[in-house]
Symmetry: C2
Amino acid sequence: MNKHGGYHGLGQVIDYSVNINPIGLSDRIKDVLIASINDATRYPDIAGERARQTVAKSHNIDPHHVIMGNGASELIYLFARAIKPKKVLIIQPTFNEYERAFSLVGSEIVNHTLEARDNFKLHLEAFGATLAEHQPDVIVLCNPCNPSGQYIPYDQLEDFLGLISNYESYLFIDESFIEFTGHTSIIHHTHIDRVFSLRSMTKYYAVPGLRIGYGVGSEHIVQRLEVYKEPWTMNNLALSAVPAMIHNCIFHEQVEVWLREERQPMYKALEQIEHLHVHRSYTNFFLCKLHHVSGHELNKRLEPLGAHVRVCDDFTGLDESYIRIALRGHEENVKLIDLLVRTLAVK
Amino acid sequence: MNKHGGYHGLGQVIDYSVNINPIGLSDRIKDVLIASINDATRYPDIAGERARQTVAKSHNIDPHHVIMGNGASELIYLFARAIKPKKVLIIQPTFNEYERAFSLVGSEIVNHTLEARDNFKLHLEAFGATLAEHQPDVIVLCNPCNPSGQYIPYDQLEDFLGLISNYESYLFIDESFIEFTGHTSIIHHTHIDRVFSLRSMTKYYAVPGLRIGYGVGSEHIVQRLEVYKEPWTMNNLALSAVPAMIHNCIFHEQVEVWLREERQPMYKALEQIEHLHVHRSYTNFFLCKLHHVSGHELNKRLEPLGAHVRVCDDFTGLDESYIRIALRGHEENVKLIDLLVRTLAVK
């Protein structure tokens, strides 16, 4: 299996490597989960039908355009199996499960790697040349992008969609972090038959342990995925919690306040740190380039002081001089800044 | 997706179609689940490592022989994808997900169908002829068998294993109901490199909503499955409950008492019912043949009276005159017998 974030060592270490909403599980969701304990003795809906209805209603779309997943990860693998593309073009650097999923079904993988020095901007001309050269069956774009934190809003994405409409390519667009941008999904702007949007509930709702995600696409794509979908993939307690999570207005407000109060100051503070370059972020994590030490060396210094960051050496186009830092609560953000200042002062 | 048991209608209907242990969730497991609520905010082990250790220890086997699954169903599909057999021989009638899983990876499916009039007994000579004719890459045997309730104990299975050892076939043996037989798994008797035993926690521990299963096989098979295994497929609350479930001695005793007190009397009572033939069962459900009405007609009569049984028309080798009845608690068993007597008296 691929490498991923997450601190697996001992001691009281704050894990800045996992980019999960730090507001966590509200008491209301906990209550719903506890009240649903007896659902453990009942089979879940075979394909999560009730949750699908809830999700569709929340986006004001037809349920036939929605498919539920055991986390977004089920749907990455399911999409790969159902579409079985000969050639996949992945816009890099990005989450490493796309490559694994498509490789397992025998797809040839080609990368279009964006440049750090250009702040990971997607240039249409260069991308058009890659498209023309490879004519991929599937294009994979993570937007906002994990790990770069960059985001292409819909008005800028239109030209990109126009460009790819000249090809027979599917667009697999991972919008797992979109709630943190304050923007809405591509699904509200376009109904291109070959676009599939992947959504995770893990990151925004802070429930990586529950495993809930969903995908939105044309009926044609959803039906094709359903042919390959395995039965009962979602836990029944997790399914029970979906409506309460989606309709939790207080939680949505808390997240908004947290982002407003923490993101920009954290960026400004990271900008001030010597020997580190931070990329501007539109989501809940920051990609940083270290100038004098590797991310591994930094973690060796941080961990005894109680912090751990994500070293990005397994992302295509990055190396061990890149780290990804999750935005956390105020005190933890302040603590990390302090630790970075202290640990990076030493060469 | 395939058809499965489960009553989806309205009203207070006892569902005899789902063959789940009626003893249900103990307070202890509920407490563990409630105490694990905060695990929802943490990623599960990527492949359920701690649960794997627990399962391996409980069977006194090396953890490298064990792979955890999001229910047994994940492992049926994973095995199919990892082994990608050209030809699969399924011993029928049986659970319909095997056929779907192998068909999705392009396997040719051939059936060896056992006869109801012979109480679904596996005759080695006839089976040997099927083997010689088809030379399958994978043989699928459900033991004890869903839906027939028949079980081949290990001493009788030895000749079968000897026979298939002449071929290069994998044996995929689904032992999801084995705890109800009082016998131990094939894994304790044999270490044939090409045997993979599938185990479900759903049926015996009555947790279909949690989605936990596992498989036991040679390191060679487990490693091959791990190449294809998707990340984070198991819910973190479910994983937290595994040790408490396995080590719950009181529960194991309750199940034993229940089976001792209910199974044989239920069989005897079913035997007395006119217009119905019951097959002897080694597990927690009974396959019955109706003589004058279809299972659908029977359900039409039963449901207004508060009961629903599994019509077996989607099982290869059976038809709508077959029903499967789950053994439940004493009062519910008595109630069903009474209802069957009343509803089957009318032609």
